[in-house]
Symmetry: C2
Subunit: 332 residues, 2 copies
């Protein structure tokens, strides 16, 4: 059985199949080694701090000097960034074309000094430091009025776009709002309520696609999943900005990240995956309807010509089929 | 140098870098074997016609029976399709969710009976049969009023989403308009002229990004390229529907496909690539401003978390740098 479902967040359709014909290891790319870098010198390893630009922030064991060893989570500028936070945004035209300077900020969060420790293997305390780092850097970047949207994301494995194997995530401050979540203020305008709150309510009522419900968060496979085994971590409290996370929420989110990344790696035959944090724009005219949430996207299929052309994803694993598999692994 | 450019077709921004720091073979995924299938039984090979659903159309050497050997280009239904052309489109709701049945048609065009002949190696006459097949199937699908958009595409290589190595392309008839090219009628509404015609004029004037100009088509690297070395083949004649291609245009398009696929494979170290044909919706209310064109997208980078989250592509190869490399290979 196959149906076409409406994704109201992205205002797109997705094609979803609900017969589990493919086991994780049967997806064509799952036969390829996912580790993303050759062995050799790693600029993210402890002791190689001089190979990176000076650090922006670090959680440390003690009171070591910046850019020396002894750190636990270390934030640095992305050395190969396409963005620079200098001057003002200048829009220019050449004939009909329109462009602006690459104003923005691109940072890397190195999640562990150890090269071989994978994200899902990190201790819970380390996860909490990572979530705290996300919040601190989000709120720091939001202070700069030139930044209009802040994207936190992780690329894990070759098919998720990782170019270095050492566990890290990234944060970009954009000088414009990308607009991928415009469906949220649109829904609020049309329906007078928050789409994410409404989804949460409906999922709690049906209990078909929920993986785990905590005190502050719910992990669920969304109705119109673009990716096989796509999972959202949604805060129950209606909160527009990721940076408004409370300390208690930080702790629970860290635990959700640990449990979910373990479930993905263990139950799906160790796929590449991304996580992304969807949130409200900053330093912009206020629009109601945003509600931040975190999205984990296993990358077991490549976006093919049809996705590149139409933006319509063909997802062979219905979220109703995906949720029980991830739930079983989470609960084990 | 890096800048942010506006893509008016998709109504998105792309980040473009104009220092060629990465040679094709230095892209992380280019170190991975791109052939997409293990050796073994291939349902697309001559002699294995019984392993596929009955053929829809075939160019043949002589007057052989359908579904027997002797064919040159063979069109069959996609056996693993998420779409079925049966009944009418029915929209349903479950609470706030909205979905419809998987109404549509999904076909596969097998481009050669020979397993080991790659697309760019096909003889020109074979390319002409493939282009003719595209046109015939496009026009046949457009006859069905339930179909609103027709997407022709090719996945070549593992990182372009190919699951079978045997050279083939695909065509999907959708029961809705995906809307990725909505920028075209929008531009016409705002500016009173066709965006693609205007782009063509500006590119011919500046001559910075053109690879080759023929009698009927121009091959160029577009100003706001999402993908490194992305190339468009644009018909000079303002034509909304791909199916309106003349016979003379068919022949030249086939030659452009051969030359461009050769240039991509030879000058870019044999990457995975897609091609897609962007065209006007069918069986829909008329909107001026569409202009069909073909897009080749080498897949030398994986869409990472930032692209998945924001839809903003970070492209490390400016089209001004890409065009001379492809042009040199084309002209050789």
């Amino acid at each position: 059985m196959s149906e076409i479902r409406k994704d109201y967040v992205k205002n797109k359709w997705v094609s979803i199949s609900s017969n589990l014909t493919l086991k994780p290891k049967d997806f064509p790319i799952m036969k390829v080694e996912t580790s993303s870098a050759p062995a050799g010198f790693c600029p993210f390893c402890e002791g190689n701090e001089a190979a990176t630009p000076p650090e922006i922030l670090a959680f440390r064991k003690g009171k070591e000097e910046p850019d020396s060893g002894g750190w636990l989570v270390r934030t640095i500028p992305n050395k190969f960034s396409a963005f620079a936070l200098a001057g003002e945004l200048e829009e220019k035209h050449i004939g009909l074309y329109r462009f602006c300077n690459g104003l923005g900020k691109h940072e890397v969060i190195i999640e562990t000094p150890q090269h071989d420790t994978d994200f899902h293997e990190l201790a819970l305390e380390r996860m909490e430091m990572i979530v705290s780092t996300f919040k601190m850097r989000y709120n720091a970047l939001a202070q700069d009025e030139r930044i209009k949207y802040i994207q936190i994301y992780k690329n894990r494995g070759l098919f998720a776009g990782a170019s270095l194997a050492h566990s890290h995530s990234q944060i970009i401050g954009f000088p414009f709002k990308p607009g991928e979540n415009d469906g949220l203020p649109q829904y609020y305008k049309d329906q007078g309520r928050c789409l994410i709150c409404a989804i949460l309510q409906q999922e709690q009522d049906s209990n078909q696609r929920i993986i785990h419900e905590g005190k502050y968060f719910v992990a669920l496979c969304p109705y119109a999943s673009r990716f096989a085994y796509e999972t959202w971590i949604v805060p129950k409290r209606h909160t527009e900005h990721f940076g408004r996370l409370t300390e208690a929420e930080e702790k629970e989110l860290a635990w959700f990240c640990k449990k979910l990344s373990m479930a993905i790696v263990h139950s799906l035959d160790n796929p590449s995956y991304n996580f992304i944090i969807n949130t409200a724009p900053v330093n912009s005219l206020y629009e109601p309807g945003y509600h931040w949430y975190m999205e984990f996207t296993p990358r077991m299929l490549v976006a093919a010509g049809v996705e590149v052309a139409t933006g319509v994803y063909i997802n062979p694993v219905a979220p109703e089929d995906a949720a029980p598999i991830l739930r079983e692994s989470w609960d084990r």
